[in-house]
Symmetry: C2
Subunit: 409 residues, 2 copies
């Protein structure tokens, strides 16, 4: 495996992990445009724009784009987050050029007005469904409360009101600023012909004009507190709890990943034994996610109404115990083995490597091979994790409880 990089004169960065023994390649554009970049009145525009990228380009209609992807048998999709929008395709090696050309087309959408109006309805429907399903918007609410005015507190979907108000010209202006080539990475992983990729990027993206716009980073000043989100028809209670963690630039992020596995992994974690194995909750987990200027631990728990207040008390005790005694060496070793296996498993699939490759390069200008990641995880000590627990106490959190009122009160 070799990792190769190149930058076009207009600022578009290329990065690729080339494996001669892979059978496919993943390729994608990683755009530094997410909900955190949106002015309040355009909340949801990044995600809406992602949909519109498939709805017509300078040379192709929506239908032609779709047919062209199908013709090369591509497995393709896109997603939008707080920090980035990603467009990707997995194809057989003979279709590298076609996939690159098509993805480049998507980066220059034309926003046909009729498609715009129709897609807006699709998004509004998506928002309605999101609010209709567990945890009934509690995650967005918790994010807003915890980040307290910080751009990372914004909802990726936006609100019904904000999406309804977005106009084509506003989206066009947002696109011009955020989809400039110097604000993107073109990444590829797998059976990549890198020399050809450079030529293809020059041909398809070389004419894009750069734009002088950066992202505003802000120190996080989280707000703690307990909030209720009533949903009378809910059959279960849902808890979302957010706490601060190290940012994606921090050396402590591997310790944070390990802590999340010890405390809240799907199986064999403290939350698992306390709540899931015992049957007190149907799910309980802790996840860590990293951004440029902040990291966040998200704890979720869902259970029957009548167990909710007891579970809250148990959770408080569990976190108190963690902060008093730390974790054990045995827990750390088990968590390391899990992360090892997952990292290697993810590395086997070009499509998965593509995501970490592209996002880490886009957000942190950082590249780590699977082997380097394994070394960094291995190097974390018990002291590192226990220091992290003190530095970023899980007992300081914003919490949202969604469900019928009775149990919560």
């Amino acid at each position: 495996m070799t990792c190769l990089k190149h930058t076009l004169p207009n600022g578009l960065q290329l990065i690729a992990e080339c494996y001669s023994d892979a059978y496919t390649l993943g390729i994608g554009f990683f755009v530094r445009a997410g909900s955190r970049d949106e002015p309040a009145e355009l909340a949801g525009v990044s995600h809406f724009l992602e949909h519109m990228a498939f709805k017509g380009t300078p040379t192709m209609t929506a239908e032609e784009v779709n047919l062209a992807f199908d013709r090369i048998g591509a497995a393709y999709n896109a997603f939008t987050g707080e920090d980035a929008t990603v467009y990707f395709a997995a194809v057989l090696p003979e279709f590298q050029e076609a996939a690159c050309r098509l993805l480049a087309e998507l980066m220059r959408p034309v926003f046909p007005p009729d498609e715009f109006d129709r897609e807006k309805q699709v998004i509004l429907e998506e928002i309605r469904m999101y609010l209709d399903e567990p945890p009934f918007g509690a995650d967005d609410l918790c994010r807003a409360k915890f980040f307290a005015g910080h751009p990372l507190g914004r909802s990726v979907l936006g609100s019904t009101a904000s999406v309804e108000a977005i106009g084509v010209e506003q989206m066009r202006a947002y696109h011009r600023r955020r989809y400039a080539p110097n604000n993107m990475v073109l990444a590829a992983a797998g059976r990549v012909d890198f020399d050809a990729l450079v030529r293809q990027a020059e041909a398809f993206c070389g004419g894009w004009e750069s734009w002088d716009e950066d992202r505003m980073l802000h120190p996080l000043e989280p707000a703690y507190g307990f909030h209720l989100s009533p949903k009378p028809s809910a059959s279960h209670e849902y808890l979302i709890q957010m706490s601060e963690g190290p940012s994606g630039y921090s050396k402590e992020r591997f310790a944070a990943q390990l802590l999340a596995a010890v405390v809240g992994d799907d199986s064999g974690s403290r939350l698992f034994w306390e709540f899931v194995d015992s049957g007190l909750a149907d799910s309980a987990s802790l996840a860590f996610s990293e951004h440029e200027d902040a990291g966040v631990f998200t704890l979720t728990l869902s259970c029957a109404e009548e167990l909710f207040s007891d579970n809250l008390e148990r959770l408080r005790k569990l976190i108190r115990g963690l902060e008093t005694d730390g974790i054990t060496e045995e827990e750390l070793q088990r968590a390391k083995r899990k992360i090892f296996t997952r990292t290697v498993l993810a590395g086997e699939r070009p499509r998965n490597r593509l995501f970490s490759l592209g996002l880490e390069w886009l957000l942190f200008q950082s590249y780590q091979s699977v082997q380097e990641k394994l070394r960094l995880v291995e190097a974390v000590t018990l002291e590192d994790v226990n220091r992290l627990i003190q530095r970023y106490p899980l007992s300081c959190h914003a919490t949202v409880a969604a469900g019928s009122w009775e149990a919560i009160q």
Copy 2:
């Protein structure tokens, strides 16, 4: 890649695809025990048993099993279907023996009474949640109506009443019959040491006693008709429609797979253009699944209440058009490319190969490499697909519509 096979004296069959360049291996037991094997009064016992497999073995408690999997960093899980129950783990190569030993432990559960009672509550909760979420049990209902008394019509979860009534001794007897070594396959894929695997299987499974029990196969006599499943609180309407297709033994199954892609793939299919791209439905798809004595096409559609009856009419027209004119060569070629890419992508991941390897060997005593599968897909002609459309008309179906009553009536 080499495919190796071996059978132990007690009838346990081993099959493995060994790749010297893989970084992990997937390993799993495939048991010919599913909802189709259950007497009516034990509906749900296969799935309940799958849960109990993790709850105590002759030498380990539930907690020890969980810790032991974690200690080797295994990504492990299990699932139950109509035809089979599968237990699997993905591990780094140095943990092949430990993973094999642990999975073998799971195959001989001891069913501790307290764990049994506790797990029963977990399953009952799972059934409640299943009925609470879209499509609100409509899939199980449609399956029961369509298969009309055929064993494949049974629900994997079972009902609240049937699960409540299951006793430990009944589960033990079911286990003795269905978990006999001659009714299982031990499969592995990836960086497998096959000679070692044979020795490990002999050591861990060689003492299991075989049992003279087979599966009853039945010709399918599907029942057609339209059924309503009222859910007053639903915000959307859900349609499930089942039609007959070729069985997993049939040469026509690749044509059926291609037809499902042409008609109902996620993107670029006839259903996609008619309903999803146009915004008339939020999802619409057609899937094909194969069993030993039957195949089934399952069409699903969900949309806003006010569009439901119009959509039903559109769907009828779409199927009529398909049966009158067939599909086009261009559609077939696009579907082939998609299936190619997916097959190759799945083949890149040992864990995915494991599932088709184990299930196809267990159910059909058939082995096909990724290359052979690609050849068989390539060989399907337009005539094959259009003949299939006539032979298995999608217009003959059992349908369940779930949602609030108003739109349906």
